[in-house]
């Protein structure tokens, strides 16, 4: 029976590879997860177990299944340490930064653990003769996501002071991260937007960028009164999301935008289409951002609705799912508030601050904005 498992595992890896390097669909993740399971069940061929995981770490990360990537990566790292002659550490370093910069998304992981792992990453980069630029980059991102601004500024300074070498992250990603830093940590939207211009106008891109920037930039541009620019960014951003569930947080940003600009029908269509990514996925920070956007949109709709109920196609897996697809808006909002509170508490407890609670407050403040834009026919 083992031989069957082994050849089937290989077949699944081949099938996944045939889907192409840029395919990061849940279907490809499923193929590779199955390949890992079969290769493990067979248990005789470590190369196969490694290959399946190598593909899986990449695909799952870009698909936004960070937990799947983490588990597969942990196995690889263990193999590396067990037999460094056979499995090369250098082959894992590019992925290591993805893994570490996703850790903050899981409130079950204490900050000390994130630090320990980042130390380990730093040591391995040094051992392979690479500089610490990517390490400062992930430290900065983790610090920012966990609301530690002081550390964020410090790691930004160190990152800036370390030149790019062959281990540095892709230039488009670095710029997107710098944009995020200016926007969120420094609260300098104009500088951030100017910095991101090559991403926003399409000169620079990669597998993940500028999807997130195009979403993040919308509300700041509205606040700056640069209303016209938002339309193209919104449309392009929505187009890029495609089937990448990794973008669930960006969907939340687009929901904010559609709420504030009065495009409620579009907002609802987007919410319905992507709700399951948020509610069923394990990416909790993505879920948080999506729920914030959903809350803003439904609040705005509730403010102006004549009826207390609304038809919505929501995922069956929700505890309050209804066959007739009719939901009371106040109940839905209360449920979202409960979920948001639960998530914010969990993150803030872990982070030892009120960063996520403040994000909830900031979402409430968004409702003060009202900038109607017609997207009809666009």
């Amino acid at each position: 029976m083992t031989d069957v498992d082994r050849s089937r595992a290989q077949e699944l890896i081949d099938r996944a590879r045939a889907m192409g390097f840029f395919d990061h669909s849940p279907a490809k993740v499923a193929l590779l997860e199955e390949a890992v399971r079969l290769a493990d069940a067979d248990g005789t061929d470590d190369d196969l177990r490694w290959d399946a995981r190598h593909e899986l770490v990449h695909t799952a990360t870009f698909c936004g299944f960070y937990e799947t990537a983490l588990v597969a990566f942990a196995w690889q790292l263990g193999k590396c340490d067990e037999n460094p002659e056979r499995w090369h550490e250098r082959d894992l370093l590019w992925q290591y930064k993805w893994i570490i910069s996703s850790l903050h998304r899981f409130p079950g992981i204490p900050l000390e653990r994130i630090d320990e792992t980042t130390e380990d990453m730093a040591r391995r980069y040094e051992r392979c003769g690479l500089n610490q630029r990517p390490v400062h980059d992930v430290r900065r991102r983790n610090a920012l996501f966990t609301g530690n601004l002081e550390a964020t500024h410090e790691h930004y300074r160190l990152w800036k002071a370390t030149p790019r070498d062959s281990g540095a992250d892709c230039a488009a990603c670095e710029l997107a991260n710098e944009f995020d830093y200016f926007l969120v940590a420094r609260e300098q939207p104009e500088e951030a937007i100017e910095l991101a211009e090559p991403l926003l106008d399409g000169r620079m891109s990669c597998a993940v960028v500028p999807l997130s920037c195009l979403a993040q930039v919308l509300v700041p541009l509205l606040r700056l009164g640069r209303v016209e620019e938002t339309v193209a960014h919104h449309l392009r951003g929505i187009g890029l999301i495609d089937d990448r569930s990794r973008a669930i947080g960006s969907v939340g940003d687009h929901l904010d935008y559609l709420a504030i600009t009065g495009n409620h029908r579009r907002g609802i269509a987007l919410l319905e289409r992507r709700f399951a990514w948020a509610s069923e996925g394990r990416n909790l920070s993505g879920r948080f951002t999506f729920y914030l956007g959903a809350w803003v949109l439904l609040s705005r709709i509730a403010e102006r609705a004549r009826k207390p109920t609304r038809k919505l196609r929501l995922p069956r897996s929700l505890p309050f799912w209804r066959e007739d697809a009719t939901y009371r808006l106040d109940e839905l909002l209360a449920w979202l508030e409960g979920e948001l509170r639960g998530l914010a508490d969990a993150f803030d407890r872990r982070n030892g601050n009120e960063w996520f609670a403040r994000r909830v407050t900031a979402a409430r403040e968004l409702l003060a904005l009202d900038t109607p834009i017609s997207l009809a026919g666009r």
Partner: protein, 622 residues
Amino acid sequence: MTDHRFQIDLGGIIDLLANHLYSTPQVYVRELLQNAIDAITARRALEPDHAGSITIEHVAGRDGGPATLLFADDGVGLTDDEVHQFLATIGRSSKRADLDALRSEFIGQFGIGLLSCFMVSDEIVMITRSARDPDAKALRFEGRADGTYTVTPTDLESGPGTQVWVRAKPAAAEWVEADALERLLLRFGGLLPVPIRFSSGGAEPRVLNAEGAPWRRRYASAEEEREAILAFGAEMFEVDMLDFIPLRSRPGEVDGVAFVLPPSHATVTGASNHRVYLRNMLLSERVDNLLPSWAFFVKCVVNCNGLRPTAGRESFYEDADLEATRAALGKALRSWLVRTAEHDPARLDALIRVHHRSMKALAVEDEDFYRVIADWLPFETTGGRIPLGELRSILRAGVPPGARPLLRFTKTVDEFRQVAPIATSQRLTLVNAGWDYDEELLERLPVIDPGIDVEPVAAVDLVADFEELDPAEADRAARLLAVAERTLAPHRCSAEVRRFLPAELPALYGIGDAALFRRSVDIAKEGADETWSALMDGVAGGPGADPGAATLCLNLGNPLVGKLTRVADEELLRRAVELLYVQSLMLGHHPLRETEMTLLNEGLLALIELGIDARGGEEGRP
């Protein structure tokens, strides 16, 4: 004689054009062609019968030094005032934002085009003579990369038009070689309606672009057209294309063809790079935002007259016009598919066999399209991969007339794997909707076919659907169930006893998504250090984490399980349950956790021993 009517610093704009605007220096060829074609168009406004032509001469450098190029057109030329106007306007701009405005008028575009040559040269000479004034003298402009320049009248006698000499700088030699230049001219200018004559090494000039766009030519027959267009596609993309679809759109003023990619390129999503011409000049070979996202089964070659290019002229502004164009092109592709479904089903079948993912992506977005194309879309089922149309007839044939057929599907590939054997033994046709779009499509099937019901199933559901035991049986199985519950609890698995088909199957392991993930964590933790183990626990736990349900369902219809209900020895019963558990894990192709490996190893030995004690022990008695 040096003319300094204006003191102008060209340094800023040259730096921008030469170093920051373009992704590759080779676009200098495009910029010069653009200037030439603009000049010829302008001259036609004065002299409607003027045919116009563009001549390029390549002169190899001496002793292997860099080559010199001459770009000449017989267009409108520039007057003295216009030369100074170009210097004045362009000298004031050094920001990217200014370029759009400059590009929008003749002189500004001319200046940008000319100065772009500094990407490949440190020195440019231009001689121009205007067609507007029969007595105009020729002017000579000499510019250097440091921003200094001179403008002088010259006695050179020639007809109206402009000549540009570019001497390649050593670092840019590769863009100026004769072969490279010829390729670039053809690439950028292949569709231009004006002949491009090219000569090198003193040879007779040849016209490079005699044929024009293949989709605008007239053909004697449809076969001839097909052959010519597919040959064109193969040449453009170096891939033999499966088919082609003519494209036309009023928004954006687009004409061209979409090539249907062959199977080897079928499943690669991500950016599909289209080759796009703007007013017959190649804009880019990497435009990725021209078609709707579902249309990843084609690669296009198109010309657009009505879209706004970005300042670097390598893509389009994502504006309302582009959006309208995208929608119109999507509609053109879609209506071709719908027409082909009606008139040439075999052709569509060949296409969908390769590109069903793309078709499904569109069907998810567009209900009417789904309705038209539904029967062709393939799905993986317990009966193999079959088109939805066939699947619908199979299901219909399976129910009495008047009854509503039910299509059952699993939402994930894992579930399909678990449930398929049971479904097969129960003669149910089950669809694997774990692949992209399948779940969404099947959930919407009743909308386009109200005569059918659909229902997602999971292994856990099927177990729940299994026959409940009658009270007497339940009584008989109670002890087995209790021992099984106790035995399996440490493995995070609950136990049930039911009756199900096939009877040969003693037990079935059912597991949900969350529990499956938990198993993968357990296995990864076995080789991980403390830090990584903690990380994985942190990921698997946390708020809202579902501990996940795994169930071992014992089949009372199986003779072995029937016997187990009559076994009194608890130790034997426990060992038997453990082995059934491990066996059903292996049947489901689940890798075993260390604890389960131990069960397997110890359990086998223990059972053998129990067997020997029970029998061999007696026989061996003296």
